[in-house]
């Protein structure tokens, strides 16, 4: 499905849900660790900003932030500033949540709430995992719950939060099955992107896709190399996936927020039975996330180990070499700062690695293509 078609469909769907079910919509920057279950329990539709940029969107943001700001943050501001017609649904957003995943996130969210007159909600995440940090996280959950209760004019019941937690849990578990399907990386990405956009309301369609794919596996042809894609997410409408597949690469794992980092954050059944307080469950998930790139001090070592194990397993199973592409959206300091460490550590282990830094400009498509093709040639 073309992204324009996806956005048009989503726009109609969101409008219907808002009007028919009288629901509010809360938007937030895509990669933030926002407890969307809490929003869902309040009868609010969470909307993750997960849209790729363009030259026009980035330049539309330059009245608010310099061009040396994260290209994704520029894109989010550009979407509000220029309001392209495929993004009409952004007009339906009732609140925008400001969180602190990174400086650009804070800046972009603050600008969107201030200059585009969207009421603001706050949810801040601690950068450590000690007991005080976990208490802080719980306090933030309580505070967010209070803010949401004021909006909806009623108490959010624990049983409703638990119900939402179980609903999202089931959805993410199902989504994780996509990983094992015999389909192209671009098809997996399309599913992940749609899942991020629609949330658990996409479950039935997702189950159909998975069942169909399992009963009728497709032989994936013209693939020279299998790849793991890490770093910044590939957002809706990004042409990068085409460049990778045109060069003969197939992404077998999206180790990004749109992909593994999202669907891997699930609760064990044992946890769901043992912990009755739903907010404590959310705290437990925050605590157990070993790959939390802010709060886990040795997350990079965990990531190196995770990637190495995945690659070894895949190579043993298929006999195919696996390379890693670390996607760095320009001026995303957060991912940028880790690039050398990650590259050195994985190269030490004999893994082919490419740091692919870029913005959303069409002008660098040629160079981007050269870097990807050269990486494939290097792998061969």
């Amino acid at each position: 499905m073309e992204h324009v078609e996806l956005l048009s469909e989503f726009s109609i769907n969101l409008k219907d849900r808002k009007e028919q079910e009288n629901k509010k919509i809360v938007a937030f920057m895509s990669h933030d660790n926002i407890p969307e279950e809490l929003l869902d329990a309040a009868g609010i539709i969470p909307l993750r900003m997960s849209f790729a940029g363009s030259d026009d969107l980035m330049s539309a943001s330059n009245d608010y932030l310099p061009a040396s700001t994260c290209s994704f943050a520029q894109t989010c501001i550009g979407l509000y500033s220029s309001k392209p017609h495929h993004y009409d649904f952004l007009n339906l957003v009732d609140y925008f949540m400001v969180s602190n995943h990174c400086v650009s996130d804070i800046c972009a969210s603050e600008i969107i709430t201030k200059y585009f007159d969207i009421p603001r909600l706050n949810f801040y995440i601690p950068y450590t995992l000690n007991s005080e940090a976990l208490q802080y996280y719980k306090n933030e959950l309580l505070e967010l719950k209070k803010q949401l209760e004021i909006i909806i004019g009623r108490e959010i019941l624990n049983e409703d939060i638990l119900k939402s937690i179980k609903k999202y849990n089931q959805f993410k578990k199902k989504l994780s099955e996509v990983q094992e399907l015999s389909i192209l990386g671009s098809q997996k990405l399309e599913i992940f992107q749609k899942a991020i956009l629609y949330g658990p309301s996409y479950l039935n369609e997702l189950e159909d896709i998975i069942n169909k794919s399992k009963s009728d596996p497709v032989k994936v042809n013209n693939i020279k190399f299998d790849l793991i894609f890490t770093g910044c997410s590939m957002f809706i409408g990004d042409y990068l996936i085409n460049l990778i597949e045109d060069s003969g690469g197939n992404i077998i794992l999206f180790d990004t927020w749109i992909g593994h980092s999202y669907y891997s954050q699930v609760f064990l059944d044992e946890e769901l039975e043992r912990i009755q307080d739903p907010l404590e469950l959310l705290v437990a998930r925050f605590k157990n996330n070993e790959l939390g790139d802010h709060s886990v001090s040795n997350f990079l070592e965990n990531k190196v180990l995770q990637l190495k194990n995945l690659i070894d397993e895949h190579e043993q199973k298929t006999g195919k070499k696996v390379g890693v592409i670390n996607h760095i959206i320009k001026f995303c300091d957060h991912i940028n700062i880790f690039q050398t460490f990650l590259k050195e550590r994985l190269q030490e282990k004999g893994i082919r690695f490419l740091n692919l830094e870029r913005d959303y400009s069409r002008a660098n498509r040629g160079q981007l293509s050269t870097r990807i093709e050269a990486f494939m040639e290097m792998m061969g």
Partner: protein, 258 residues
């Protein structure tokens, strides 16, 4: 069978005709907006002057315009092509810096397999490229061929802090306004290119023997300042602009021999 490597760069198009490992003929011309036309013209010209037919040669294209050349039998990126091409001149080389019209690259070659094991490349920004030098030569009103020699006459290089082509041009104009000499400005410009490219190259751990190729390798000042920034001597091949095309022709040969 003879092979032809065509390297269509953003500023220059290069073509090399080889028989096994011997260079029989070559062409260099300025690229136009029409990559296909310039590549085809050079190709037809070299065939005609060497009494060859299309079926006598296997063609490998490379460079920014590699996909625009429909006469090519196959394609390879300029990163792989340069890594192969420089080994024609320096078989033991371990590292490459290629500065072309639109981009600059640093490439690391495995001592064991002689293949590329890592590379860095600038993105759309023209800083540290041949285009940057062209804009600066224009701002200084000096022919591009002479700007390197001019830079080396300086005893007091001007500080060019900006690596952005647009900002650096403004900086050059303001240096003029302050009465700074042309050679001091030229020297500052060359140092800024060397600093930027060396920084990129160090990130992948380049080491001797390092081959400097691409059109900008003909500029003596960039070479000297790169040596200072890197802290070791570097070498340039006899035909620095042709290494991509030579590499493509050699890769074509390897493909035919398989």
């Amino acid at each position: 069978m003879k092979t032809i490597g065509i390297d269509i760069g953003s500023l220059a198009s290069k073509l090399v005709l080889m028989n096994d490992r011997e260079i029989i003929d070559h062409r260099i011309d300025r690229s136009t907006y029409d990559f296909k036309r310039i590549g085809t013209n050079l190709f037809n010209e070299i065939l005609e002057q060497n009494g060859l037919k299309r079926s006598d040669v296997y063609v490998m294209s490379t460079g920014y315009g590699r996909n625009s050349i429909d006469i090519a039998d196959d394609r390879v990126t300029e990163i792989t092509a340069h890594a192969k091409g420089i080994q024609y001149f320096f078989p033991e080389a371990h590292s490459v810096i290629d500065i072309g019209g639109q981009d600059s690259k640093a490439i690391l070659i495995s001592k064991k397999t002689r293949n590329v094991i890592d590379f860095q490349m600038n993105d759309k920004c023209a800083a540290g490229t041949g285009r940057f030098l062209e804009v600066m030569a224009h701002a200084l009103d000096v022919p591009i061929e002479r700007i390197g020699e001019l830079a080396l006459k300086s005893n007091n290089p001007a500080a060019i802090s900006s690596t952005c082509t647009v900002f650096a041009e403004s900086e050059v104009i303001s240096l003029f306004a302050r009465g700074t000499s042309k050679q001091d400005i030229a020297s500052g410009i060359h140092k800024s290119i060397a600093r930027r490219v060396a920084g990129m190259a160090k990130r992948i751990g380049v080491a001797p023997q390092l081959v400097f190729c691409g059109g900008v390798a003909k500029n003596i000042a960039v070479k000297q300042y790169l040596e200072v920034e890197l802290g070791f001597d570097i070498v340039t091949p006899k035909h620095p602009q042709l290494t991509g095309a030579i590499g493509a022709a050699l890769i074509a040969q390897e493909k035919l021999n398989k």
